[in-house]
Each structure stands twice: as C-alpha cells, then as structure tokens.
Amino acid sequence: MTSHDDHHPDGEQHDEEQHEGEQHGELPQGQSREPGQDQGEEVRWEGLSTLSVWASTVVVALFMVPAAIVGTVVLFVVDVSNLWALLPLPATLAFIALMTYLDLLRLRATRYRVTPERMEMRSGIIAKAYRSIPRERVRSVDVAAPIYVRIFGLCSVTVGTGESAGAGGTDQLQLLYVTAGQGERLRRELLRRAAPATGSPDGGEGTGEEEAEDDGTELVRLNPRWFAYAPATTATFGVGLGVIAALVGLNAQTGGHGWQWISEQAGLPSAQEMSSFVMGRLLVVLPVTLLGLLLSGVVVLVATAVETWWDYRLLREQDGTVRLRRGLLTSVSLSVEGRRLNGVVLHEPFVLRSVGGASIRAVATGLSAGDAQKTEAKSRLSPAMPVRRARELGAALMREPDSALDVPLARHPKAALRRRFTRAALGSVAVLALAGVLAWAQQLATESWWNVLQETEAEFMPVPLISPSAEAAPGWGWIAVALLGVVVAFWYAVGSYRGLAHGLHPRYLVVRKGMAVRDTVTLERSSVIGWRVTRSPFQRRLGLADVSATTASGEGLYTAQDVGLGQGLAWADEAVPELLAPFLVRDQGSSEPERPSALP
C-alpha cells in the first residue's frame, strides 16, 4: 500500500473547496439523484438489519405487557363491573405495534453502499438526506457491539473522516445496526483502497471473524496480570466515597426516615450513642473505614477494566491498518488507517506512574468523536500496563527501530520552575489564610453554634461524625493541615517542572508535561500543519513561551509549555524545517534573508 510518509493520495487533485466531495442535503421526494454512480457497474444499496427493531420490540413488550396485565387485574380487583379495565392491554399492544412500524419505516429508508470511490448513505422518511464520503477520506472505522445488540448478532459501525467538524459537528457516518458480518466486511473494505469492494453484498456472513484473526501481526495481547494496575488511580478512594455519598444522599431524600427504619429493624443503638462510640475509638474505626473504601474502589475499578479490556488485542494488518479489539459486554473493534496514526501518547497518571504503570493512546486523524472526552476515550490503545511494555508498544506502533519515546529530552529553563513556585506560594498563602480563619472561628464558636451544626448534620447523616470531629480537633490541627498543604503544593511544583521536556527524533517531535497526569506525546513531524506561540505577561518577563505544534491529529495542538523562547523556537524550526525559518531572526545579526512578501 502507500508509503507511510505519503500524505497525498496519488491522482487526487483537490481544489480549495475541500468539502466539495461531501454533500449533505435534502433531495426532493421521488427524485433519486445518486452522485458517485459514475462507474458502469451498479453497486447494490444495502439496508440496516431489521433484527434490531424486533429486538427492541421484544424488550419493550417484556416491560409493558406485564405492566398492562397487572393494571387490568388491579382495576378488576377494585371494581369487577368496570369494563375500562379491559383497555390497557390492547392499548399497549397498539402502541408497541405503532412504534415498531415507525421504526421499521425509518430503518427501511436508511440505505448505504460502498462503491469503489465513495461510501454513501441515504436516510429519512419525510426529510430525505443523502450523505457521501469519498473513500480516500475515511480515516477510521469503529465497530461496536454492546451486549444487548450482540446477542442478536448485530453491531454498530461508525466511520470517521477526520474533517475538522464544522457546525453540527458530524464528521462521522454511523450505521445503527447492521449484522456482524456486514460490520466486519465494512471494516475490512473501507480502509482498503488498493482492493476496492468486490460487491457481494450478503456474503461474508460469519466467516469474517475467523479470517481476520491471522491476517496481520499481533502487536500486543491482554495479559490478565495487567488488571492489577486498574485500581492504581486517585479515583480508588473516590469511587468508595461516591458510593457512601450516594447512600447518604438517598437517606437525605427520605428525610432521614430510611436510616431510622433500618436502625429500628436492626435494633441499632441511637445515633448519639453510635457517634460517641465511634469518636471514642477513632484509631480503630478510621483505618477500617479507609480500608473499606479502598476495597470497594478496587472492586469497582477492576470490574470496569475487565469489562473494557477483556480479550484485548492490537494488530497491524497487512495494509498497515492498526486494529484494536477489546471488550467483554460491549465488544469494540476499532481500525485506524496506518498512515493516519501520527504518533502516540505515553499516558502516566500520578498513582499509576508511581507503581510503574502506563498506557498508550493514539494521536490519529479521524478519531474525533464530537467532544473531547469521547475523543479521549476513543484514542485509548491499551489498558494500564507495565511502563516498559507500554514503551515497547509505542515503539512498535511508530514502526521505528529506535523509539521516539526514548530520545533524550531537553529540560525547560529554571524560570519555568520559578513560575510554578510562584503559583505554589500563592496557593499556600490562600490555604494558610483559610486555616487561620477556621482556627479563629473555632475559638469563637460557642456551645450553641456546635449544637446548630450538629443538628444540621443529623438531618442527613445517619451517624453524625463531621461536626463532632471538627469540635474535637485542636486549634493547631488546622494549621498542621495547612502546612501539609503547603508542602504538597511545593512538591507538586517541583514535580510539574520535572515533567516539562521536549525533544526531537528523526521522524517525530516529542513533548512531555504534567504532574497529576504526565503525558509524553510523540507527533510525526510531517503531520505538523502550523505553529502557535503564546506568551503571557509573566512569560514575557521570564523569557518563556508556550510553543505549540498544530496538527489535524488527536487534540490538534501539542504544546511545549514554558519553554525558553529561543530554545522553543530553535526546536520548532528544526522539527519542521523551512516553515518557521523565514520568520526567525538570530540575535547575532546574522538574520535570515527575508523572503519577499507576496503582497505589496
């Protein structure tokens, strides 16, 4: 297939009107103009699977019919002579039938086909829509099968084009739902330009899966031991706390009666007794609570990781396409065209980093999915795994003998550290001031204040603990906590300064940043489509700048933060020769010969 560096599909002359190939719009009814039909052979239009409609009908019926029967029975029990009681069942059935009919109409109206040049989709009953994507613009194909769809042998197919989505934000074409065989065939064909669709619309059913297993080299497959990294996040306590907060919230919604009822049934001692019991044995209760929180968090996170990453495999197919498969309940298969994978991110959140784990994400065109969060979820190419393994995977994805993740990185100037110290100092002052105010308030607080606080807390907490512990806390406790905060702030400042770095590989540029989440990004130098340099007043005073490469891939902007201005510009100039050079001057007077401006 095409070479890796080739970014311009041969034989394709695009004029400035980039969106010319893609048409959205409404066609007058009855008139079925079909652009892209220029080939002599007619490719058949295919429909979505009607099975999904019947499936949702069955599910809805399972819920609504019993409800209707119960309604009828109840009405009869209330009043035997009431003939209205016969109504719910037929009404429900009519409703379900109508919904199914409308759904079928919608489904019938949606048709798609893949011609050698383009993928086309028609949809809509009243407002007809026609959408067409040139196949050479297809960047990724995402086949997902959530469990409730998979049991019917169906899947959804999302085709990403990598257009920077304008108004409406639809750079995607989605088919809900097609049969697994159709999905697999679409996945294979859409990214294969050399060998276009052979057009056997209903072939390939069931055969696709097995064949796909061995056409390609496996980059990595799941090692169940990696699930041990799943709970290594700051969320572990948070998840447990979330469960407790949800329970407390529920109790507050019942006006506290929920807990009252439970404690009466179980014969628990009163809230005051329990509260004082706990306060008396804080040294035992506190660690046990923390352990409980930790355990519940671990269970939830491991379960999530197993659901997401079960059966995880990453393949490189013969045509260079990178294919990701994963998922227990929702099985996901994502294919990214090889030359659209412009780099990788070594993603190391703090807790994971401290236990030697990392994960790999893609920097690719055509993976955007509406909002940043979905895009981020879609670009994940690996679960948390040992950092050494993640680096190997990154290197394999970049297809370079010496990985861009291993190039020596340059540190940023000490002034960047000074900026972070300034921020830490400001934060510290705020925290100390807050602590001072709280300690002062505690001094002032009278018995009646505490009573009010406790009553408020008792409103929604079954066992009030917060206000008693606040009352019992010594005045210097606030200051101690604040001092701890100050230490953490400065430690964080040093850590985030150490995280800052940038470097160059023969084919990639590398930037690293972050303390809470450290991301090392490699970006193909040929995919840089511009530079952005920003400087705040503070950065100008310290001789720093944020130098960002703009690209069509991934987040679209990758920044070397707080880099020395000269250092950053030299790096950018070297990374993409000739782009920045005409606009740079060297201080030693040997300024570049200025190019003549094209405009007067």
């Binding site: 400035e16 340099v533 100039d573 060297r586």
Partner: protein
C-alpha cells in the same frame, strides 16, 4: 542562554489604523454595559446602593483604563504577513499569540465583517486549517485589502494539491 537563540521577527504589515477606533468602540461598548448593570439595582434598591455604586465605579474605571490602553497596545502587536509558502500573524496585547500556517495546509479562506467593523470599513480574513487549534484570523484590515488578500490566498492554496491534513 545562547546568544544566537532565534527570535520571532514581527510580521511585515500592520493592520489598518482604523482598527484602533474599532477596538476602542468595542471596548467602550462593553464597559458601558458592564457599568450600567450594577447601576440599575442601585437605583431601585436603597439599602445596598453604595455597594453597587462602588462596583459600578470599579468596573467603569477598569473598563476605561482598558479602553484607553488596549487599542494602542493591540495596534503595536497586531501584524500579518503572507509569503509564498506561509501565513504569519501576531495578535493580542497582554496575552500575545503568533501563528504560522503553511500555504499547503490551508483548507478554507473567508472574509467576514461584523456590523461594527463595517462602520469603520474594516474586514477580517479567517484562514482555516485542519487543526483543532482554531483558525488564524487577521482582523482589522481595510475591506478592499481583505478581499485582495483572501483572493490571493485562495489562488495560492488552489495551486497546491493534497487534502491539507
């Protein structure tokens, strides 16, 4: 630091002088609105009147200060240049930004004029690339010049094949 560390030279062309008046008017309008907002409750509600008047005073004062300083500052920073190979702009005042985009990666070129720009005979040229970093905008150009620039950019980008990603 290295003595031969590179610096960015300012782009060749300034924006139109009338842009100063455009920025002044815009800033003044925002200042007036923000000052009037706390004055309304001050007129209606007696007890809090001094507080709201103080807020209005601060907002108005800061707004006027910005209105006086910002346009001149912006005029010194805002510059643009188009070479055969790239578009180069600088903008901002306190926070400043320099942008470079190669001609070969430009997707669309638009001109736009808001109602206020039209009053001063100005236009903006917006140059879009495939990046999510947002378009490059040259604002405050003379209307005829903006049209020329856009036409020239369109011609140059048309000459270059590829899908600009």
């Amino acid at each position: 630091m290295n003595t031969d560390a590179p610096r960015l030279r300012p782009p060749n062309h300034r924006v139109d002088r009338r842009a100063v008046w455009w920025w002044t008017t815009r800033s003044l309008a925002v200042t007036v609105v923000l000052t009037v907002v706390p004055v309304v409750p001050a007129l209606i509600w007696e007890p809090v009147r001094p507080w709201f008047l103080i807020a209005a005073g601060i907002l108005g004062g800061v707004g006027l200060l910005i209105t006086v300083a910002m346009p001149q500052w912006r005029f010194r920073v805002h510059r643009w240049e188009i070479t055969d190979t790239a578009v180069y702009t600088s903008s901002g005042w306190l926070w400043q930004e320099w942008r470079v985009a190669p001609m070969s990666r430009i997707q669309t070129v638009d001109t736009a004029r808001g109602p206020l720009q039209r009053v001063f005979g100005l236009s903006s040229v917006t140059v879009t690339t495939a990046s999510a970093a947002g378009p490059i905008e040259i604002s405050g150009l003379d209307h005829t010049l903006a049209t020329e620039v856009a036409d020239q950019l369109t011609d140059s980008t048309e000459a270059i094949p590829g899908d600009a990603t």
